[in-house]
């Protein structure tokens, strides 16, 4: 059998495992070097999700309860592509986030900010045949966390993507342009260099904005692409 492997991320494409400014990495990063192994069918294959698991309003976090959630209504649109700009079609995207007051609907979140009975903060969708997706939600609030005494996470939305193979899996966070908290955030700053950091900051996009209803943001995502083969190029 033959197999076209996925490209390995270049150094600095992802955050390092040990990043002292983000204190929780101290005891949770391996000290031994990662062992480099070849890709086999185990790594390049991956789970495929059927559309039947999605309900029509799963992508709209403002319509999951009887009333509307509080906060600034936003639309997020984007495309999921690989490193060759080929669309990743029909792939599951899941998001989760805090409410407009900066509180997660989660038992571990003890931040003294109100829960919103009209907001659970979870959504899911699949990309279409051009890799496009769309979510409707509200802008999450910033919230304090225990990294240091003055630490507040910048507003962010968690993204989880499966992609076509086990090794294309991506978990990331989408941030908002111009947020003054970004420059203080060790999780964001763990991404090496401004150029790479910009890839997790959404762009305000008036073509996504829905007039008199919701502000639009664009957030494109890039997953690992395949190695070039002599035959395909």
């Amino acid at each position: 059998m033959t197999l076209t492997p996925y490209r390995r991320p270049t150094p600095g494409a992802h955050p390092p495992l040990n990043y002292p400014d983000y204190r929780a990495t101290a005891l949770r990063h391996p000290k031994e070097p990662l062992v480099i192994i070849p890709q086999t069918l185990s790594e390049t294959s991956g789970p495929i999700y059927g559309a039947d698991r999605l309900r029509p309003d799963d992508h709209d976090l403002t319509r999951q309860h009887a009333g509307q959630p509080l906060g600034e209504r936003i639309v997020i649109e984007g495309r999921v592509v690989d490193q060759d700009s080929r669309p990743i079609t029909n792939t599951l995207i899941e998001i989760w986030q805090a409410n407009a007051a900066g509180r997660y609907a989660h038992k571990r979140d003890h931040h003294d900010a109100p829960l919103d009975p009209n907001f659970s903060g979870a959504g899911r969708t699949k990309t279409d045949d051009q890799g496009r997706y769309r979510f409707v939600t509200i802008k999450p609030g910033a919230y304090p966390w225990q990294n240091d005494q003055s630490a507040w996470r910048p507003a962010h939305i968690h993204f989880s993507l499966l992609g076509p193979g086990f090794i294309t899996r991506l978990l990331t966070q989408m941030y908002f342009p111009g947020d003054p908290l970004l420059s203080f955030d060790p999780i964001f700053n763990a991404i090496p260099g401004d150029r790479a950091r910009r890839r997790v900051v959404a762009a305000l996009d008036q073509t996504v904005t829905v007039s008199e209803w919701a502000l639009g943001y664009r957030f494109d995502l890039v997953l690992r692409g395949r190695e070039a083969t002599p035959f395909s190029r």
Binding site: M1, T25, L27, R28, H29, I36, L171, I187
Partner: protein
Amino acid sequence: MTPDSAELTPFQTVGPFFEVALPAPGRHRIDRGTAPTVRIEGTVRDGAGHPVDDALIETWQADQEGRYDRTDWDGYGWMPTDGDGCFALDTVLPGQVPLPDREGTLQAPHLLVGVLARGILTRLVTRIYFEGQPSNATDPVLLLVPEARRSTLIARRLGETQFRFDIVLQGVNETVFFDV
């Protein structure tokens, strides 16, 4: 090497609140009409030996014949660790998966594992092998691991169908993680 036309989106930690979207217990039973044949359980520990009670463990495996490409097969498991840092998976023992080579080399039965958690900025990837499988001795991936550390990748047999696979993020008996 071809220049990328689009650049990778960087990883970020899954954080402590992923259960908002991916609620416990997750998917911890994998079968194909037949009953699971093995149970794998383990604890995730950090560099101080403390259980990691907010991790998300993901597994991916072939079916009993070592195949991934069946439409009726879904070998994907995912499990948030519980308050004691523990996870458990009831599944079928995967078959041997071929290597992409001309010789038809087979890998020993294994699962891929992704470890995500607060404090883990980029997903950690490892493999679970099974104690007592003769093919472990010739598995081409295991042979790339320094001999002294191979045991961290082999689930210990506790009983006829029960295996234990602890994940140590750092320190003594640190689990081998892969760059793949």
